[in-house]
């Protein structure tokens, strides 16, 4: 019996550990990595209807493939209309994430887009909860 249980318990522990780790990351672990200076950045386009419309275009071209056409998320990628993105993360946090990516979790860096387009995208994403 012991021979059967030890590997089973070991595998179960691994599974629990993996789940806890995954939840840790899915729970916005990256937010803790954002430097204070970046966290405090504000969006120069905040609330501007033209910027939101432009951000929607950028989102459609580059982000919708993973996050869904309306940022609702897909099987593997999170929704952006979540409490974490809409309330917990500041505009500066989202900008930092777009610039640096979260490569371990499959989020690429979008530093290849000009800063203006990143802020426009953030204006659109933040408008989703309004």
């Amino acid at each position: 019996m012991t021979r059967i249980h030890v590997p089973a318990i070991f595998l179960l522990s691994l599974a629990i550990l993996a789940s806890v780790s995954a939840f840790g990351i899915a729970d916005g672990k990256w937010l803790h990595n954002v430097p204070v200076r970046d966290h405090a950045k504000t969006n120069p386009y905040r609330g501007e209807p033209a910027a939101i419309a432009a951000g929607k275009r950028v989102f459609r071209d580059h982000c919708a493939q993973c996050h869904g056409d309306h940022a609702e998320g897909t099987k593997k990628r999170p929704s952006l209309d979540s409490i974490r993105v809409q309330e917990q993360a500041s505009e500066g946090d989202l900008h930092w994430l777009l610039v640096n990516g979260n490569m371990r979790k499959g989020m690429p860096s979008w530093a290849k887009l000009p800063d203006q387009q990143l802020w426009q995208t953030i204006a659109y994403v933040k408008s989703l909860s309004q």
Partner: protein, 285 residues
């Protein structure tokens, strides 16, 4: 063959594409990787006429796939057409690019490793060692006897600043048949013509264009390092990202010394397929 192309068109017709936001370089690599899951299909051509030789068009078709956010792999098939001579398949290449640092810094390194098996290649995707115009003069029947099985490595350094991209490549290439290491370089700078996106859909908005300049050349080999007896090229370059996901690129490039082909005209076309394998899985369900 017809069935293959019909199948490919059917496959591509059924998938959505994204805007690849490609840099307009033909030889220089930026540190930017392919998005994970996306497949970029690219066709690049180089047209030139070496003094004393026939006009040629060297071509690559490339399949670039984002395996991970930090790992991009790419398979090339090469060919060339030489006027008054022949059209031949010149070989294949397989490259991998790895991004060792997982955040964006002032200078971002990428490690590039490629295996190539080519002969009589005229696509000029890199210039190393003492490569020069004389390599393009021999008839294809003779040139293809010279098999090049090579390992090519690059240190790619890239920076993005206020819309500008500045990229530098340091190239080291080794023919596996006991030839010395050969070296080369490529540098490029580019910027979108517009930094902010327009609120409405448009075909010829400034942000759909990227323009820049590119320079590359050989740096000799292990025994004769330097710019002596090497060829170098410089030229402006531009691309346009069409609304349907196709990117068109063009660059006239000019040889900078007597070892270079006087003029090269490069043109390219690429199309990015979103989440290629996921699409394939869904279609099987």
């Amino acid at each position: 063959m017809k069935k293959f192309f019909a199948g490919l068109l059917l496959l591509l017709g059924g998938v959505r594409s994204s805007h690849a936001q490609e840099r307009p370089y033909f030889v220089t690599y930026s540190h930017e990787m392919e998005e994970p899951g996306n497949l970029d299909i690219e066709l690049f051509n180089a047209d030139g006429k070496p003094p004393g030789g026939n006009r040629f068009i060297g071509s690559n078709i490339e399949f670039e796939y984002g395996v991970k956010a930090w790992w991009t792999t790419e398979f090339y098939m090469d060919g060339q057409i030489t006027q008054h001579d022949s059209t031949i398949f010149t070989g294949y290449r397989w490259e991998n690019r790895f991004r060792p640092l997982w955040r964006e810094y002032w200078i971002n390194p990428v490690i590039y490793v490629e295996f190539e098996n080519t002969s009589a290649d005229k696509a000029l995707r890199e210039v190393v060692g003492h490569d020069g115009k004389d390599d393009f003069v021999d008839p294809n029947s003779i040139a293809r006897l010279d098999k090049e099985r090579e390992i090519e490595t690059k240190l790619i350094l890239g920076s993005n600043f206020r819309g500008w991209n500045i990229s530098e490549n340091i190239i080291a290439e080794k023919n596996l048949s006991n030839n010395p290491w050969e070296f080369g370089y490529a540098v490029g700078a580019s910027r979108p013509l517009g930094l902010a996106a327009r609120p409405h859909d448009c075909t010829f908005c400034p942000e759909q264009f990227q323009a820049g300049i590119e320079m590359y050349g050989g740096l000799g080999d292990r025994y004769s390092f330097g710019t002596r007896f090497t060829s170098h090229y410089l030229g402006p370059t531009i691309n346009w990202q069409a609304p349907n996901g196709v990117t068109l690129s063009f660059s006239p490039q000019f040889g900078l010394n007597g070892f270079s082909i006087p003029r090269l005209y490069r043109f390219g076309l690429s199309y990015e397929v979103d989440q290629f394998l996921s699409r394939f899985h869904r279609s099987r369900q």
